[in-house]
C-alpha cells in the first residue's frame, strides 16, 4: 500500500487537472474558467512537489496562482459584462478544433509510446536551495546568471510596456 500512495496521488491529481482543464476551456463564464485554471495550476504545483522540486512548486503557486490569476480576476472585473464568452459560434469550427487537437494528441501519444526514455535520475532529495542559488547566480558552466539578467530586463520592459499600453490617454 505504501508503495502505491504516490501513484494514487498522481492519478487523482492528474484526473482532477484534466477535468479542470476541460472545464476551463469549455465554461461559458470566464470567472469560472479562471477558477478552473487555478485548479490546474495548483495541480501542476502538486506535480512539481511529486518530483521533489519544492521550490518550483512554491514558485508556481506564488507567481501563477497568486499573481497571474489575480491579474485575470482583475481584468474580468474591469471588463464586467463583456467578459461572458459566447462559446463555439460554429459547429464546423468546433469540430475542426476537436479533430485537430485529437489528432495532435494521438500523434504525440504515439511518439511518447514508441520512444524509450532513459529516465532513472530522479533524486528523492530534491534540489537544495544552495545548489539552486549557485546555479542561478553562478557564472560557471551550467550556471545561468546571464539568463537571469536577461529575464530581469525582459520583466522590466514588460512592466513598462504594460503600463504604457494600459494607461489612459
Amino acid at each position: 500500500m505504501e508503495h502505491y500512495t504516490s501513484i494514487i496521488i498522481f492519478s487523482v491529481l492528474s484526473l482532477l487537472m484534466i477535468a479542470a482543464a476541460i472545464a476551463a476551456v469549455t465554461s461559458s463564464k470566464i470567472m469560472r474558467a479562471t477558477t478552473y485554471l487555478l485548479f490546474v495550476l495548483f495541480g501542476t504545483a502538486g506535480l512539481y512537489f511529486s518530483m521533489f522540486y519544492t521550490f518550483l512548486g512554491a514558485t508556481q503557486i506564488t507567481v501563477y496562482a497568486g499573481g497571474i490569476v489575480v491579474l485575470f480576476v482583475f481584468v474580468i472585473l474591469l471588463i464586467g459584462k463583456g467578459s461572458i464568452d459566447v462559446t463555439h459560434t460554429s459547429k464546423l469550427r468546433y469540430m475542426a478544433g476537436v479533430l485537430a487537437s485529437m489528432s495532435g494528441l494521438a500523434i504525440t501519444l504515439y511518439i511518447i509510446k514508441t520512444t524509450h526514455f532513459i529516465a532513472d535520475k530522479l533524486d528523492p532529495n530534491g534540489v537544495s536551495m544552495r545548489t539552486l542559488g549557485k546555479t542561478i547566480m553562478g557564472t560557471d558552466k551550467y550556471n545561468f546568471v546571464l539568463t537571469f539578467e536577461v529575464l530581469s530586463i525582459l520583466l522590466l520592459a514588460c512592466m513598462v510596456g504594460a503600463i504604457l499600453i494600459a494607461r489612459k490617454k
Partner: protein
C-alpha cells in the same frame, strides 16, 4: 566622301526637331527649317556627285565603289551580320542627286501649296523622315539595310498618304498602300533570308565561288526580292495601292509616288543586277514580261481616267514598268551586247523623276487653282496659268518622247534595248509609248484647252442664272512656280547628259548613240499619239470622240474601272482569304489559344477564391492551419524515420 553621312543625318535631325518640337514652331519657321536642311543636304549631295565623278575612273576603268562608313549593327552569329553604312557607287550617287533635287523642289513647292494647312509642321517632319529613309535606302551597303530603310520608306509613305487623317478616303488609301506593300515586302524578306542563309552574307558584292555554290536557290531568292520590288514599284497585280495613294497631298504624290519611292523596286533590281544577269536570267525575263504587261495595262487605264492625278498615277505605273522592262531585257552585263537596258533604265529613272515630279507639281498647281481633281472642272486654263501651262507642256512632250526633251533620249534607249531583245518586245513597247503620248496629251488638252468652266460660270452669273460669283483660276505663287520652272529646265536639257559615261551595266564608259530607225519610229509613234489626242480632245470632246466612246462603251467602262483589278483583289481577300483562312485562324485563336489562356486565368482565380478566405485575419484559423501544417510535417518525419 565623308560628307555623305550628313546627307543622311540632316533630314533625320530635321525630322526629329520638327517632330518633337514642331508644334511650338510657327508654320513659317517649320517650313523654312525643313527646306533649309534639305537645301544643305542637296548641296552636299551635289558636291559628293561632283567629287565622285570628278575623281575619275580607277585603273581598271571603273568608278570605284566606296564605303566611307560601315558598322556592324546586328551580329547574327557565324559570319552573318547586319551592317549599317554608306555605299557610294555610280547609281547610288545618281539616286542621291535625284532624290535630293526632287525633294528640295517639293519642299519649296509645299511652302506655297500647304500654306495654312493644319499640321503643316507634321507634314514637313514626315517629308524629312521620308527623305532620310529614301536616302538611307539608296546608300545601303547591304540588302538588309536596304530592307530596313525600305520599310521606313513604306511607313513614311503611309503617314503622308494619310496626312488628311480626317478624310475617310485618305485613311483607306493609306491603309491599302501599307498593307499591299507590306504584303509584298514579306516576300522580299523571305528572299533576303534565303539569300543570306545560302551565301552567309547580306552584302551586294559576294565572291563568285559562294554564289556558284548557292546558284540553285538564287533564282528563287531573287524572284522573291523582285516581288517586294514589284509591290513598291506598283507592278501588276500589286499596283492597286498607287492610284489610291493620290489621296495624299499632291507634292507628296510628286515626291513619293512618282519620283522616288516607287522607283525603289527598279533600284533594287538594278542593285542586284549582276546577280540577276549571272544567276537568274529566267527571273529577269519574267521581270520583263511583267513589266511589259504592266506598262500596257496602266497606259490603257490611264487613257480613260477622269481624275487628273489618277491619270498621272497610271502613267507613273506605266513608266516604271518601262524601267523594269529595260532591266528585264538585259541578257549580259556588256552594254554593247544586250546589257544596254541597265543604263537605259537608270537614265529613264533619272529623267522620269524630273518630268513626272514636274507633272505632279503642275497638277498640284492646277488643283490649287480650281479646287478639284476632276477634268470636268478644268479646261481652258492656259490663259489663267501661263507658267504652269508651259512647264506642263514641256513635261508632256518629254514623257511622250519628243526630242529634244529628256524623255526622248531615255525612252529611246529603252526601246533600243527592247528591240535588241526581240522585235516583238520592241514593237510592243513602242505601241505603249504611243499610248503614253496619247493619254498625256489627252490630259493636257482637257486641262488647258477646250471650254473654260470659269467663263461659262461667269456668263451664267452675268445673266443671273447662278447667284454666286465663280472663283477665278489664278496662277500659283512664286514658291510654287519656281520649282516648276527649275524642273522644266532640267527636263529640257537632261537628255544631253552623257549618262552612259557615268552609269552602265559593267561600269565601263558607254557612249549613247541613237539608233536612227528606232529613234525615227519612236518619234513617229509619239507624234501619231499626239495627233490623235489633238483631234479628239483639242476643242472639248469632238463628235469623233463621242462616236468612239459610244462604239466601245463596255471596254472604256472596264478600263475606267481599271479592269476590275481592285474588285478582284477585294474578292480574293474578302471572300477567299477571309473566309477560308482568316476565319478558321480567328476561330482557333479565340477558342483554342484564348480559351486555354482563359482557362488558366479561371483556374488561378478559382484557386485564389479558394485560398483567399484562409487569410482571414482571424488568429484562430491561422493557428488551425499552423497546427495542421506542423502535424503534417511530424507525420512526414515519422514516415521517413
Amino acid at each position: 566622301m565623308e560628307l555623305a553621312i550628313y546627307i543622311l543625318a540632316l533630314p533625320l535631325l530635321s525630322f526629329l526637331i520638327l517632330g518633337l518640337v514642331g508644334k511650338n514652331l510657327s508654320h513659317k519657321v517649320a517650313g523654312i527649317l525643313g527646306t533649309l536642311s534639305l537645301m544643305v543636304c542637296t548641296v552636299i549631295a551635289y558636291s559628293v556627285a561632283v567629287t565622285y565623278f570628278g575623281a575619275g575612273r580607277s585603273e581598271d576603268g571603273l568608278f570605284p565603289t566606296l564605303m566611307p562608313y560601315n558598322y556592324t549593327w546586328l551580329p547574327l552569329g557565324g559570319n552573318l551580320s547586319i551592317d549599317m553604312g554608306v555605299l557610294i557607287d555610280p547609281i547610288s550617287v545618281m539616286m542621291l542627286v535625284v532624290i535630293t533635287t526632287v525633294s528640295l523642289m517639293v519642299h519649296i513647292y509645299s511652302l506655297g501649296y500647304m500654306k495654312g494647312e493644319k499640321g503643316f509642321q507634321r507634314y514637313y517632319a514626315f517629308l524629312s523622315l521620308f527623305t532620310f529613309s529614301m536616302l538611307g535606302l539608296v546608300v545601303a551597303t547591304n540588302i538588309f539595310q536596304m530592307y530596313v530603310f525600305w520599310e521606313l520608306v513604306g511607313v513614311s509613305s503611309y503617314l503622308l498618304i494619310g496626312f488628311y487623317y480626317t478624310k475617310p478616303a485618305a485613311i483607306a488609301a493609306s491603309k491599302k498602300a501599307f498593307i499591299v506593300t507590306r504584303f509584298a515586302d514579306l516576300f522580299f524578306l523571305i528572299g533576303i533570308l534565303i539569300y543570306g542563309y545560302y551565301t552567309q552574307d547580306f552584302s551586294f558584292t559576294i565572291n563568285e565561288s559562294i554564289l556558284l555554290s548557292a546558284s540553285a536557290v538564287l533564282p528563287l531568292a531573287l524572284g522573291l526580292m523582285f516581288v517586294g520590288g514589284a509591290g513598291k514599284s506598283a507592278m501588276f497585280p500589286l499596283h492597286i495601292w498607287l492610284p489610291d495613294a493620290m489621296e495624299g497631298p499632291t507634292p507628296v504624290s510628286a515626291l513619293i509616288h512618282a519620283a522616288t519611292m516607287v522607283v525603289a523596286g527598279v533600284y533594287l533590281v538594278a542593285r542586284m543586277f549582276p546577280l540577276f544577269v549571272g544567276y537568274a536570267p529566267e527571273t529577269l525575263s519574267m521581270i520583263a514580261y511583267v513589266g511589259a504587261f504592266t506598262a500596257l495595262y496602266a497606259a490603257v487605264v490611264a487613257c480613260v481616267q477622269t481624275d487628273i492625278k489618277r491619270v498621272l498615277a497610271f502613267s507613273t505605273i506605266s513608266q516604271i514598268a518601262f524601267m523594269m522592262v529595260a532591266l528585264g531585257v538585259c541578257t549580259s552585263t556588256d552594254p554593247h551586247k544586250g546589257g544596254l537596258g541597265y543604263m537605259a533604265s537608270m537614265f529613264h529613272l533619272f529623267t522620269h523623276a524630273m518630268f513626272k515630279g514636274l507633272l505632279f507639281l503642275g497638277a498640284g498647281a492646277i488643283i490649287h487653282a480650281v479646287h478639284s481633281n476632276e477634268k470636268e472642272h478644268m479646261g481652258g486654263l492656259r490663259k489663267y496659268m501661263p507658267i504652269t501651262h508651259i512647264t506642263f507642256l514641256v513635261a508632256c512632250l518629254a514623257i511622250a518622247g519628243i526630242p529634244p526633251f529628256s524623255g526622248f533620249f531615255s525612252k529611246d534607249e529603252i526601246l533600243t534595248a527592247c528591240y535588241d531583245y526581240s522585235v516583238i518586245m520592241g514593237m510592243f513597247m513602242s505601241i505603249v509609248a504611243a499610248l503614253t503620248a496619247f493619254y498625256m496629251f489627252r490630259l493636257y488638252y482637257l486641262i488647258f484647252w477646250g471650254k473654260s468652266l470659269y467663263e461659262e460660270q461667269l456668263n451664267s452669273y452675268n445673266s443671273g442664272i447662278i447667284k454666286e460669283k465663280p472663283h477665278k483660276p489664278h496662277e500659283a505663287p512664286i514658291c510654287m512656280t519656281a520649282p516648276l520652272v527649275i524642273l522644266a529646265t532640267i527636263t529640257c536639257f537632261a537628255g544631253f547628259i552623257p549618262f552612259g559615261e557615268f552609269i552602265s551595266s559593267n561600269g565601263h564608259a558607254y557612249e549613247i548613240h541613237l539608233r536612227t530607225e528606232v529613234a525615227i519610229s519612236s518619234i513617229l509613234f509619239a507624234i501619231a499619239g499626239i495627233v490623235i489626242a489633238t483631234i479628239m480632245y483639242k476643242s472639248g470632246e469632238s463628235k469623233l470622240t463621242k462616236a468612239i466612246n459610244q462604239s466601245c462603251k463596255g471596254f472604256i467602262k472596264a478600263a475606267y474601272r481599271r479592269f476590275y483589278m481592285d474588285e478582284l483583289w477585294m474578292f480574293i481577300t474578302k471572300k477567299i482569304i477571309f473566309n477560308c483562312i482568316s476565319r478558321p485562324i480567328a476561330w482557333f485563336d479565340k477558342k483554342v489559344i484564348d480559351g486555354s489562356m482563359d482557362m488558366l486565368a479561371t483556374i488561378t482565380q478559382r484557386l485564389a477564391d479558394f485560398v483567399r478566405p484562409m487569410q482571414s485575419g482571424n488568429i484562430q484559423s491561422y493557428s488551425v492551419w499552423f497546427l495542421s501544417g506542423t502535424l503534417a510535417l511530424v507525420l512526414i518525419l515519422l514516415y521517413l524515420m
